[in-house]
């Protein structure tokens, strides 16, 4: 490759890089700077401060922690379910595996709002679960505890992020060679040993991608808690959104957003570190 073609080919990437620089990096940088400014008389004043971060940690520790906790639960659930599902897609008989993969791909395009709405119709007071149970005579009154709580939020967000998370795990599993597996089996390794020592280390990257995607999405979600969550448990996304709505405190809102992202990053670093240690290939005696 000559330097000339290298230059032309970099030129091809210029529109994308320009768009990215001026409409993503710059806005994000601006947003970051705003988090160190303060609001005086409904105007953003140019006096730098760490006050917004202090306020975020002082006034919203419960929301931050419970949001990260909920995101962690969903990410673990989704990664485990995704792993089981991807294993089924990869190792079941081909026709079954393809059918399961098709289901995952179809639900990937099922729509975000449509899915949240579907859970509301299923879990609601007049929803399918309640009307079904009443029809069967198992309950006399609708169970109102199904909706408007963390359970409903976790269920709906697990349902939404699962198809997204299956793809990187399946991608990693597809690259796993059949030959070493067959060899290990011939040498007497149990299915569990093969799974732990051969399959799992090779799809660690895919598992981490799935975990990271889910964690970041759930930690930043503000719609599911609004539609399905209770009044007592509000996720940080709702507070962030409020700062840009009727509260009009953009600096505090962006400080909250960056605190949330930093918290998620800490979780990801910890998970990557622990995962690395747990999945390190065992040396042969």
């Amino acid at each position: 490759m000559t330097t000339d073609t290298a230059k032309t080919s970099l030129g091809l990437a210029l529109p994308a890089l320009g768009l990215n620089a001026f409409l993503f990096i710059l806005p994000l940088g601006y947003f970051f700077v705003v988090s160190f400014l303060q609001v005086k008389a409904y105007q953003i004043a140019l006096s730098p401060t760490f006050g917004n971060y202090a306020r975020a940690l002082r006034e919203y520790p419960d929301a931050l922690l419970s949001t990260l906790g909920l995101a962690f639960i969903v990410a673990i659930l989704v990664t485990l379910l995704g792993l089981a599902y991807a294993l089924a897609c990869r190792f079941l008989k081909e026709s079954w595996g393809n059918l399961l993969l098709a289901i995952a791909l179809i639900t990937l395009f099922g729509g975000y709002l449509a899915k949240l709405y579907a859970w509301r119709t299923i879990l609601g007071g007049n929803g399918i679960v309640n009307s079904g149970l009443m029809e069967l005579g198992l309950i006399g009154e609708p169970i109102t505890a199904l909706l408007y709580n963390d359970f409903a939020v976790i269920l709906a967000l697990t349902h939404y992020t699962l198809p997204l998370a299956i793809l990187p795990i399946y991608g990693a599993l597809k690259a796993v060679d059949d030959l070493p597996i067959a060899a290990a089996r011939d040498l007497g390794a149990s299915g569990w040993r093969v799974f732990c020592d051969i399959v799992l280390p090779q799809c660690a990257q895919g598992l981490f991608s799935a975990f990271a995607l889910t964690l970041l999405f759930v930690a930043g979600d503000a719609i599911a808690p609004r539609l399905l969550g209770g009044t007592s448990s509000t996720m940080i996304g709702v507070f962030i959104q409020n700062q840009f709505g009727f509260r009009v405190n953009a600096p505090l809102g962006s400080a909250l957003a960056f605190t949330m992202i930093a918290g998620s990053a800490l979780i990801l670093i910890a998970v990557a570190f622990l995962g690395n240690r747990a999945l390190r290939p065992r040396s042969a005696l």
């Binding site: 091809l12 990437a13 089924a88 449509a114 709405y117 299923i122 299915g191 979600d221």
Partner: protein, 255 residues
């Protein structure tokens, strides 16, 4: 692997993923306004009621307009970038790729708010154009990723021999490269259009007073349960499924 364990597990998870959608799609045709099983009768009444809803047609038109524009823009820009980054082996590649893909890692809510404060900070009027810009920025990484992975397996030997035989670069692109990767480009465009149609969070922050199908659905959702929403969700899901399904067919024939 143990298929006696995997098969029931896979089927259960598969049902968990698809059943809620099927139920909702089914209710779009239920004659009763109560959402309960079994369904008493089938009707198209809710679709008719939906089309009479104020703002339905403008929302539909806006949704399609945004999806087409975003699809075209991010496909052209993303394809060029994927070429630039895979064909040339320059040092910038290792830096450019992560930066270009970064929007995918930022939660949509944060993206929406970032765009909102940037556009209003610059004094832009919000509308379809700001939504189109915001969606193009956030969805072009998907085109880049799909095309880059296709080009990673591309056989450059044909291109080299064409060049050795004296073909001009644009001839090489039109006669050799484009026909080979056309299905992937179309597939990427359709995936972006499906995601654009479905996008709610970034749209609601950047569209100002206009509506798309998802924001219309959101407006109805906040007022309570109403079977017209099932019809609206049905239309939305059918459109995205249609595009997504086509995209998967196109991209798979090559892989």
């Amino acid at each position: 692997m143990n298929s006696r364990l995997l098969a029931p597990l896979g089927v259960t998870i598969g049902l968990f993923m698809i059943a809620p959608l099927l139920v909702m799609l089914l209710f779009a045709f239920s004659s009763s306004s109560l959402l309960k099983l079994p369904i008493e009768g089938l009707t198209l009444h809710w679709f008719a009621a939906l089309t009479e809803t104020q703002g339905f047609y403008p929302s539909l038109v806006n949704s399609l307009l945004i999806a087409l524009t975003v699809g075209a823009a991010s496909t052209v820009i993303g394809t060029l970038a994927a070429f630039g980054l895979t064909a040339g082996r320059h040092r910038l590649r290792n830096v450019s790729m992560p930066v270009l893909v970064l929007p995918l890692l930022v939660p949509p809510l944060v993206l929406g708010i970032v765009f909102l404060s940037y556009f209003s900070g610059l004094g832009f009027r919000l509308g379809l154009h700001t939504t189109i810009i915001a969606q193009t920025v956030t969805l072009q990484p998907i085109v880049i990723l799909i095309l880059a992975s296709r080009l990673a397996g591309f056989d450059w030997a044909t291109v080299d021999s064409a060049r050795d035989l004296g073909a001009a670069p644009w001839r090489i692109f039109i006669d050799i490269i484009f026909p080979i990767i056309r299905p992937t480009i179309l597939g990427a465009a359709l995936i972006v259009m499906a995601l654009s149609l479905d996008d709610f969070i970034i749209t609601i922050f950047t569209i100002g007073g206009e509506n798309t199908l998802p924001t219309l659905l959101w407006g109805m959702m906040r007022k309570g349960v109403d079977p017209r929403m099932n019809a609206c969700a049905f239309i939305l899901v059918s459109l995205t499924l249609l595009m997504g399904g086509l995209a998967l067919r196109l991209t798979r024939t090559r892989n």
